[in-house]
Amino acid sequence: MIPLYAAHMRQSVLTQFQYRAANYFYMIGMIAEPVVYLVVWSTIARAHGGSIDGLTPGAFAAYYIVWTLVRNMNIVLTPFAWEERIKDGTLSGQLMRPIHPIHEDLASFAGWKIVVLLLWIPIAAVLVLLFRPTLSPTPLQCIVFFFAIWGAYLIRAIIQWSLGLITFWTTRVSAIFEAYILSEMLLSGRVFPLVLMPKWFQTLTWYFPFRWTFSFPIVALTGPIKNRDLFIGLGMQVAWILAGIGLLSLVWPRAVRRFSSVGG
């Protein structure tokens, strides 16, 4: 499996370098979202005497600059892609290979991350100069962060891949996908740091996968977080990855049978 992943990643890197300009503009567009959040929350913090729930403008800057890395690292195959994949015959080609098609997507998007990371560094440098983040992670936090961003990637990749399989049952899936994305926006820490939310809301986020794909990896690096919570977070990520694999192994064989009846 390692040579297969390496080959897909290599091909993805080669392909994405062909589109480096497009990738850069894509990333710049993506930066706009956290910068808006950052400016809004920093302004509110200053208006509240310098901080909200202990988060200073420097802490917000750290949160949203790390956000940009986490967001880029957890980009996965969109569920919307399946319709095109079925229509243009890409899936038929994938099904003819002696390997589960999810491996191609996992490896290809992982390869893309290498390109993304290289392009992200100068953008992050500019953001640091502009917003002066307060960031002093411990070595343990850095190690956990490294694993947590890959954990976040796997959770999002497997769950959104499984979600995309709904396309095999109905072509009117946009509403379902959009509901999912909206839930993620609210419950993940993507729009606001979860620490700003009421206790009951924070508790609620524990029961969904979203928190472990945004908030946890960001806070793992920016803090404040106890060592115990770092390990609990990684454990939750593993649990959601296993749940995603379980879901996928249930849905995929049925989806392939269903593909039979829609042709392609």
Binding site: P3, L4, Q18, S92, I99, S260
Partner: protein, 311 residues
């Protein structure tokens, strides 16, 4: 032992039906009507190792559906099929490593990269040891005469050049069974001929079995001794290409060139060919005589017409 066994294979699709108009549209919200369409209807045949079989039929006859069932992309709704002793619908990796499906209008290679990069990916997917991969790849490049193209991105190649790359990529794992669905569609005559020659060569070298669908009879004549004709999902002929004409056409064309340079063409019933020829030779000063079956395209047209009448 047969390499492909197909026994009463059937496939029906459930397709939604709705009449036009607002009322029908509203009604379909609560009650969605569907009808069953039979794409393949109790088809049976076997294919031996090394055979090259032409799979013929008009558009919508069920050819591609049958190929997709044989390659595991579609699940049959009736009957069964075996390829290399394995059931395609389960898509076992052992089977997928030994078959390939090339569809003339589909592109499986990476659009933005040179074919060499996609070939490298196929090496990893099929776990081909590098020592075997290099000579195989180079052999395919040589046979298809694409040495100067493999370093160009696929998107910069012509349709015919892309098809040659698709075929090379699909054969790197040296499959024992090739499903070729209109591999020469849209290609010019020269490119069609090259691909035909290549398929024949691959079959000779590696003893692979080939099922080929094509609307170009030249492909079928050049490659297939045996043809299977399918129409409205039903098998209407399975046998030698030469006997297809005998069975489905009642006439032969007799052309005589006379001593004075005039040419006479007569269409005679197959059974009367001998007597008509004798009379022609007796009555005229014939210097050259040919007796031909109708062109294969006409024969196929006749087969489809007869099958259409019967259904």
């Amino acid at each position: 032992m047969a390499i492909i066994e197909v026994d009463n294979l059937s496939k029906t699709f459930k397709v939604p039906v709705r009449e036009q108009g607002l009322r029908a549209s509203v009604r379909s919200l609560v009650h969605r009507e569907t009808k069953e369409v039979t794409a393949v209807d109790s088809v049976s045949f076997t294919i031996e190792p090394g055979e090259v079989v032409g799979f013929l039929g008009p558009n919508g006859a069920g050819k591609t559906t049958t190929l997709k069932m044989l390659s595991g992309l579609l699940h049959p709704t009736g009957g069964r099929c075996n390829v290399l002793g394995l059931e395609p619908k389960a898509r076992p990796a052992e089977l997928l490593r030994q078959i390939t499906l090339v569809m003339g209008n589909r592109n499986q290679l990476q659009w933005d990269l040179p074919a060499l990069d996609s070939f490298e990916l196929n090496r990893a997917i099929y776990r081909i040891p590098r020592a075997e991969f290099i000579p195989r790849r180079d052999e395919l490049i040589e046979l298809l005469d694409v040495g100067d193209l493999v370093t160009k991105p696929i998107r910069n190649l012509s349709l015919g050049e892309r098809m040659k790359m698709e075929i090379a990529g699909a054969l790197l794992h040296r499959p024992q069974v090739l499903f070729l669905d209109e591999p020469t569609i849209g290609l010019d005559i020269t490119m069609q001929r090259r691909i035909r020659t290549f398929i024949a060569d691959y079959n000779n070298r590696h003893g692979a079995s080939v099922i080929l669908t094509s609307h170009y009879m030249a492909d079928v004549q050049a490659l297939c001794k045996r043809v299977i004709v399918i129409h409205h999902g039903r098998l209407v002929f399975d046998g030698d290409l030469t006997t297809l004409g005998e069975r489905f056409t009642t006439q032969r064309t007799i052309t005589a060139r006379l001593a004075d340079g005039e040419e006479i063409t007569i269409r005679a019933l197959r059974a009367d060919t001998a007597s008509v020829t004798s009379k022609l030779l007796a009555d005229y000063d014939v210097v050259d005589l040919t007796i031909e079956d109708p062109p294969i395209d006409d024969v196929i047209e006749q087969v489809f017409a007869d099958a259409g009448d019967a259904s």
